[in-house]
Amino acid sequence: ETAVFQTPNYHVTQVGNEVSFNCKQTLGHDTMYWYKQDSKKLLKIMFSYNNKQLIVNETVPRRFSPQSSDKAHLNLRIKSVEPEDSAVYLCASSRDNSGNTLYFGEGSRLIVV
């Protein structure tokens, strides 16, 4: 049963446009994450957000920014998309940030043309 909800599931856009992906978790978890899965299927963490503390992976370009209104929501905004941003973006949550089991959403596939 899905408890981490992502929208949209699929988005096609042109280079330079702005894109936002939304994520909501109904598990009452304290920590949320955004992962990027590239064409080689490798999952890499982009951001984690716990108790209003944002931890950023330093390899993430600055055009990416997370946005959170409360601990159940963590959105991902891409200010000006580039072709290499084409990927699947996966949102996840965990009870806290001590390495507990992660629960993932179904992913948001972005295609930049």
Binding site: K40, K41, L43, I45, N57, N97, G99, T101, Y103, G107
Partner: protein, 110 residues
Amino acid sequence: GQQVQQSPASLVLQEGENAELQCNFSSTATQLQWFYQSPGGSLVSLLSNPSGTKHTGRLTSTTVTKERRSSLHISSSQTTDSGTYLCAIVPGTGSNRLTFGKGTKFSLIP
């Protein structure tokens, strides 16, 4: 280099056979999880097993922490088991982030 290495990269078996997936990691791991990613892309956690042996249904995971390896055994595989199996660790370096391997793509022949 890659912190988490999985083998084989792909595996094709006939329905009913047993599958053995391997995960090796280059640093100590305070947490280790196995995930299943369906052909449609959704990711679910299968087992959390930082050490020892754990069972759930037809799945058995054995992690030997000091040898930095874990295995996932799927017994009597079924066509619904087809998909990608991902191993992920939380490195014991002060970070609490899961680091993923590239996965094993598992396909079943009916």
